[in-house]
């Protein structure tokens, strides 16, 4: 078939790579956003009031079970139209906010399972030794809760990276967008899309391996059989 052209394939590389810093930039920013917002969810979830707990749980569930693509559209197209609170965000900012919020609900759950994976006995020992509430969290619980969440957080970083191309639909000039625009200028998308696939594979596969290694390392550090269940 004459649809595949190696000439075009090699020509497309530099063009598409121009979008890589945008894709990676959005991923990192959105991830930081999600790390912070996840904390907010975690604390909201710990409010003992039943009704608040119910509302928070279902708001999280709502965000988590609706398509990020629609959420992006909402933030990009609808948000500016909302009176008073409406703000116009650039594609970059929209993607950061959109993915940040979407994934914060997952990350909040990871934090939660991290905290819950600390055995009850640790709380009891801390009480028996008469620690203050703050010291319990600071000295006993968090140092144990956080390390086992690191691999899961890493996994979500990669998952997020793979979702970011969705934002090309709101004009984010990441690699998928560059590929589309290369394709529309050259009237053929295959080489460009193949390149995008290769880029994702090359970046995400080794990172996933790295995280696996990290996981093994963390698991053998203390006598932990605590595994943070993936929640997807």
């Amino acid at each position: 078939m004459n649809y595949w052209s190696f000439e075009r394939f090699f020509e497309a590389w530099p063009y598409i790579l121009k979008g890589l810093h945008i894709t990676v930039g959005v991923t990192i920013s959105a991830f930081l956003f999600a790390l912070f917002f996840g904390l907010v969810w975690t604390f909201l979830r710990r409010i003992p009031e039943r009704h608040i707990n119910w509302i928070v749980t279902w708001v999280m569930e709502f965000i988590r079970s609706t398509p990020p693509l629609v959420q992006l559209f909402f933030i990009y197209y609808a948000w500016p139209e909302i009176p008073i609170v409406g703000v116009t965000l650039s594609p970059f900012a929209s993607a950061v906010v959109g993915f940040g919020i979407h994934f914060s609900t997952y990350i909040g759950e990871i934090y939660r399972s991290g905290i819950e994976s600390v055995e009850n006995g640790q709380w009891e020992a801390a009480t028996a030794l008469n620690f203050s509430l703050l010291d319990k969290w600071r000295l006993i619980i968090l140092p144990q809760a956080f390390p086992p969440t690191i691999p899961m957080l890493g996994n979500y970083f990669i998952i997020m990276f793979k979702e970011v191309p969705l934002a090309s639909t709101i004009g984010l000039t990441g690699i998928l967008h560059m590929a589309n625009s290369f394709g529309s200028e050259h009237f053929n998308l295959i080489e460009a899309l193949t390149i995008v696939g290769i880029i994702f594979l090359v970046l995400s596969y080794p990172s996933a391996r790295l995280i696996k290694k990290l996981e093994v390392k963390l698991n053998t550090r203390f006598d932990k059989n605590r595994v943070i269940e993936p929640i997807e």
Binding site: Y3, Y77, P80, T88, S90, T169, I170, G171, T173, N180, S181, G183, S184, E185, F187, N188, L189
Partner: protein, 269 residues
Amino acid sequence: GGDEESGSSLDALKEQGYVTVGFSNEAPYAYEEDGELKGAAYDIAAAVFNELGIEEVRGSLQDWGQLVPGVQAGQFDAITAGMAITPERAENVLFGEPEMTYGEGLVVEAGNPHDITSFEDIANNEDVTVIVMEGATGIEFLRQSGVSDDQITYAANIPDTFAAVQSGRADATTGTEMTMRMAFESANTEDLEFVESFEQPDVEGVPSYGAAAFSLENEALREAYNEALQTLKDNGTVQELLEENGFHPESNFPGADITTESIVNGDNY
């Protein structure tokens, strides 16, 4: 969808009873409203296919930039989006004969704060950004008028370009005159302004001639289409459909001497 690679033969289409056409939701060429496909290019194509004995025309909505790759990939049998014939595009698709002609249009923020009435005005004011639909001929016109690439941003379709200007992400948007006018009217907003005093750029490709397009492999379908199109031009159907869709006889009907070949070889480009 394209049930065979790069579009089906006429016989196969007749057999299956419908033809699938790609469009990009751009009034007044081809767009969907209340669940129905409308627009001049669509109406003409529908009439032509009827003439060829195919009753039903199904639409396949695409981002503008993906229309040509889409027809090549056989995702639909023809593009009926009033796509302007250009020599470059003609290397990648087969154009039918011209169905219409049009110039460019410009929409800016209400009150035209940057006082833009031509592409040169944009070129001369580095602060101004203009948003264009990806893959549109307007991009090339802007470049030829001296607008730098930094000033041009892209969106996938016309509604998105309007949304961008309306929300202040860009200062202006350009597209074909008919498109800009129709989109401006349907947007029905006080935030925007259609620049009546816009000066057409003096560059190759303006005015543009819109035509249906087919996959490079589908010469036979194009020939059949062209023949039926000529019949409908001769009996006045095409002109009627154009007028119904708001096109003016003086400014929007292509001259009889203008053919796809003359455009592609540069005589009329």
